[in-house]
């Protein structure tokens, strides 16, 4: 370019070419710059989108923790003042006499949940033995799907079912309430036991059978102990789940204001009492409802956290 400009005779055509070249280069340079700028802008948009959206997911996580913390704080602040020795050792009294305590509901809950565990745990574990040994037979597949359906049923539907089964023609009873809770526990017990038994190495089973142990002895003294911590985790989660159940008890255990341990009569429970007290207009009952909520939350959260600690201990 520099070569010909000075020595060559002025040639209109050549001059135009030179100018053209310069122009073209300038145009190209500008275009390149525009492209670079545009791509930098795109890059910026992408980077900002990236940061904003990733930030939003973090925010969503924080947002989900707010209700948990809020509920726990409220339950502790509003419930703790009402938890007195009298509250835990007395039964129901009319509000004009101070409202009494919730001993009847504590006893009722213990009976209901205890009885439900006694009914559901053996059945769940036995059925899990079957499912683990025969996962792909017709019955195995059917019960695996059935367990999923049972686990997904609204608890109120289970309550209505037990009503038609055990309450119609008889009366509301503690037994019916326990059966309803047992049906809600069964799928949880079955599924966690199944998952845990699956993790036990086959060599353990083969070794026991090879030593001449019968199938049932292998199951109860080799497989179940090997899976014990996991099964225990499942049982704790199942108990936690039904400790707070209210809806199915409306149609089965009904609730009661007297301290009772009879299985053929209505019985109180903590969540049911909480529901009744919360929907009454009396402030004394509201305070008691918060106190019951505190008791339930302590039980449920302790079981949940305990189950997770055991599970982690096992994993390590």
């Amino acid at each position: 370019m520099a070569r010909g400009t000075m020595t060559d005779p002025p040639n209109p055509a050549a001059r135009t070419t030179e100018a053209d070249v310069a122009d073209t280069q300038a145009i190209r340079a500008r275009a390149r710059q525009r492209r670079v700028q545009a791509s930098m802008a795109r890059e910026r948009v992408r980077r900002v989108t990236n940061a904003v959206m990733l930030g939003l997911t973090g925010l969503a996580t924080l947002l989900a923790l707010i209700p948990l913390v809020w509920i726990i704080v409220d339950v502790v602040l509003l419930g703790a003042p009402s938890i007195t020795p009298d509250f835990l050792t007395q039964s129901f009294k009319p509000a004009s006499l101070g409202g009494g305590g919730v001993l009847h509901a504590i006893v009722g809950s213990l009976i209901l949940v205890g009885l439900a565990s006694v009914m559901s745990i053996p059945i769940g574990i036995l059925a899990a033995f079957y499912v683990v040994r025969n996962p792909n037979t017709t019955l195995g597949l059917a019960v695996r799907f059935g367990t999923d359906v049972l686990a997904g049923l609204p608890s109120i539907v289970v309550g209505l079912f037990v009503y038609t089964l055990l309450v119609v023609g008889r009366s509301y009873s503690a037994l019916a309430g326990a059966v309803a809770l047992a049906i809600l526990m069964l799928p949880i017990v079955l599924r966690t036991t199944e998952e845990m038994l699956k993790l036990v190495p086959d060599s353990l089973r083969e070794g026991a059978l090879g030593l001449g142990a019968p199938e049932w002895k292998t199951a109860f003294s080799v497989l179940l102990p090997a899976a014990l911590t996991g099964v225990l985790t499942g049982l704790m989660l199942a108990v936690a789940r039904v400790s707070g159940e209210t809806a199915p008890l409306l149609f089965t255990a009904l609730g009661s204001n007297v301290l009772s341990s009879a299985l053929n009569r209505p019985i109180a429970s903590l969540p049911l009492t909480l529901f009744v007290y919360a929907t009454q207009p009396d402030p004394i009952r509201h305070a008691q409802a918060w106190a019951i909520a505190l008791i339930i939350m302590v039980i449920v959260l302790a079981l949940n956290i305990g189950a997770r600690l055991i599970a982690r201990h096992r994993a390590m």
Binding site: T49, T61, A127, V157, T164, A278
Partner: protein, 330 residues
């Protein structure tokens, strides 16, 4: 002679004695019975509810679901207001909780430092462990007065008064706090952990090669998640949403305590109403006639059918994802 005698008596043991010798056959029978019992429960729920609702099923047939008049004292049983109430509250809950839940799943599965993942995950799951009735108590005395009321009043003033720039019938009518809006909002909190936890498991099951490929062609992290990881796990996330919907449909206590409990058909989120589950819980004590009880049981039967169908759909979706890459599923 002396040596062979015990042998000869031992070999031809009768079949029955041999079967029971080690207790294996009884054991097998017992575990099969336990399994059959579990299965019978599922079938039994449907059968018993079907049998006990014959009164209203014979009398009303399909008009039970399509009639909108619920007047038990006049023996008029129309479940439409409750079906609509259940749909309104559940859909509202999903609109709030699906974006949040998927966001949480993305954060926990893709972004969160490994050390924080477990404790944050546990906290989200603990929210699922809070009993429904405690949510209800908190709803009545805390959530509705401090969150739902201001929110509802704002929506009413901004969109619900005739003459506004944007006038939505969704926010018309008187507002006292206890409403579809309150029920939907509290349901959103309750189904959020379900959606978040299952979606997180689905995202964790997406193979790492998918992400590496996306990063390899220059994607940002968000582009990799949005254009590669999420589409890969879409059917699993859909399954999570459906399971969340299943929980929202059947949720009883918390909804009963905040929805206001009025049997009316209303298109406004601010008006009180009933859901299917809450009408059963709330009116059970008053069901004096056989027809009334049968009507409430039939609502339960409808809930049962909806829940079975939803579970079927959700399991199919989640299974389809897990089958695609079984080795990745932790």
């Amino acid at each position: 002679m002396v040596v062979t005698k015990p042998l000869s008596t031992k070999l031809p043991t009768p079949l029955v004695r041999r079967m029971f010798q080690h207790g294996d056959v009884p054991f097998k029978i017992i575990i099969v019975l336990a399994t059959l019992f579990t299965l019978a429960l599922v079938v039994g729920v449907g059968v018993m509810l079907w049998l006990f609702t014959s009164v209203t099923r014979m009398d009303l047939g399909f008009s039970f679901v399509t009639s909108k008049t619920w007047n038990p004292t006049g023996s008029q049983f129309g479940a439409l207001p409750f079906v609509v109430g259940t749909l309104i509250t559940s859909i509202l809950a999903l609109i709030i909780s699906v974006p949040l839940g998927v966001g949480i799943a993305i954060f926990l599965a893709e972004l969160c430092p490994a050390r924080l993942r477990a404790p944050l995950g546990v906290m989200v799951e603990l929210l699922a462990a809070v009993p429904s009735v405690v949510f209800g108590l908190w709803g009545i005395f805390v959530f509705v007065p401090t969150v739902v009321k201001p929110l509802g009043n704002f929506l009413k003033n901004a969109f619900g008064t005739s003459g506004d720039v944007i006038d939505l019938p969704l926010f018309h009518g008187p507002f006292y706090g206890f409403s579809y809006l309150a029920a939907g909002a509290i349901l959103a909190v309750m189904v959020l952990p379900t959606i978040a936890a299952i979606s997180r498991d689905v995202l964790l099951a997406v193979p790492g090669s998918q992400r590496e490929g996306a990063f390899g062609i220059g994607c940002t992290r968000w582009e990799a998640i949005w254009q590669v990881v999420l589409p890969y796990g879409l059917s699993g996330i859909l399954g999570a949403v459906i399971l969340g919907l299943g929980r929202a449909l059947g949720e009883t206590m918390a909804v009963t305590m905040v929805i206001g409990n009025v049997a009316q058909l209303s298109g406004s989120l601010l008006s009180p109403g009933y859901t299917m589950a809450s009408v059963i819980a709330n009116e059970w004590g008053e069901s004096s006639t056989p027809a009334y009880a049968s009507a409430l049981l039939e609502i339960g039967l409808l809930l049962f059918i909806m829940s079975v169908l939803l579970n079927l759909l959700a399991r199919l979706l989640v299974w389809s994802v897990q089958r695609r890459n079984p080795q990745q599923h932790a």
